[in-house]
Amino acid sequence: MSKIKKDYEHTFFGKLERWIAGENDVFYEDPEPMALEEREKKAGHNYLAYLEQIPDVGYSYEKAKAYHYIYRILTVLMGVFIVGTLLYVVYFLPPFGDADNPVNNEVSRRYIEKGMEETGAVNIVAGMILDYRAFDTFGESNVLFIAASAVLLLLKAGDGAKTAKSQKEIGMKEDVILQRVTFILSPMLFLFGIYVILNGHLSPGGGFSGGAIIGGSLILFRNSYGYEAIEQFFTEKTFQNCTLIALGFYCLAKSYSFFTGANHLNSHIPLGTPGDIFSAGLILPLNIAVGIVVACTMYSFYALFSKGGI
């Protein structure tokens, strides 16, 4: 009797009944444990091969497998469908590179013709993102900040679990050639980043690209000299304080500018002569603040990923 019942439970209708009764994954059975272990054994020490041989989900049930293939095919079809519809839409869009397109309207005219006069920035894009549309940019630096906080929360090794293993730097090797090259390259990269930030309103670049370059130079330095060397001047405390001061300044400065703007007050910020380093009102300080935030964030991303702590 019980055997019949057991057999029934493995048929489609038995499973359907159990599924209706609320068992979630009757169609989603485990792979045989032996097969799983064997596959891992077969992969041996070659890690990448191991990654590739991670077993497909153990749909021992044929229909679930079929469903899986249908899902794959449907997704490809969906991708093709989306590309097709978008291509069809592209056919009706305004032609590429034409000066009479709807996007080239009074807004861009004002940015180009009055931009330098109103914002003091020679680089029109910098003037646009840090003055005309500064609220977007404010949101953007907050995206970066919140992502950095989330990564910090996820990857920060617990304070109690500071064992040797969690402190171990990943992929650290003493390498003379690397150290020599870094010794020359890293300060130059750092300087170049500062140049890009300070000239953000005069030439291509600005806080984001310059900050990323500085972050890159810090990553390079850490990679060749190890985190002990960089810990002498950059710790988690530094990261937190720098980010707080830079973002806080950004927030206050922009609040001031928004408030005066909306209430039709004079903001009393001198614009200076366009073309000078010290010009363009708030754009230079804001670029510096953004640069600091981006540099700290980029470096801390790397540090958190490689060691689990800044």
């Binding site: 978008l86 291509l87 592209v90 590429f96 000066a99 894009v125 990857l155 984001f208």
Partner: protein, 124 residues
């Protein structure tokens, strides 16, 4: 039709890339590939936007020699928007990679389906 597509090469490419990225984001079981797909999708959208700002025969939007006529420079707005977008996508990428590392620590796999299966097994 083909001629129109050839003239609008940037836009067509960006649309195709968008489709590839979206399919990879949905289809791939491997988390790293999913994140690469996400990045491809985002950059495709940015390429689309940047292509809209381009105007044949005009210069980059940086005032040179004090010329502030509209017909000297391309449209600066798409560049500004894309600049914002790039930073958003790098933040999201970092967060997803951090989640991947955490998932690998717990389940020793990068395969999303396998991870879900293992999680359900552990829960029972």
């Amino acid at each position: 039709m083909l001629e129109h597509f050839l003239e609008n090469g940037e836009v067509v490419t960006s649309v195709i890339l968008f489709g590839i990225g979206l399919a990879a984001l949905l289809l791939h079981k491997n988390l790293i590939k999913k994140i690469i797909g996400l990045n491809i999708m985002d950059t495709a959208a940015y390429l689309f936007l940047a292509a809209q700002g381009y105007i044949e025969g005009r210069g980059a939007p940086i005032v040179t020699d004090g010329v502030t006529r509209m017909d000297a420079y391309i449209n600066p707005i798409p560049s500004g928007l894309v600049l914002t977008g790039i930073v958003v996508s790098v933040s999201v990428t970092a967060l997803m990679l951090a989640l991947t590392v955490c998932l690998y620590q717990k389940y020793h796999s990068l395969n999303m389906d396998y991870i879900i299966m293992k999680m359900r097994k552990e829960e029972e």
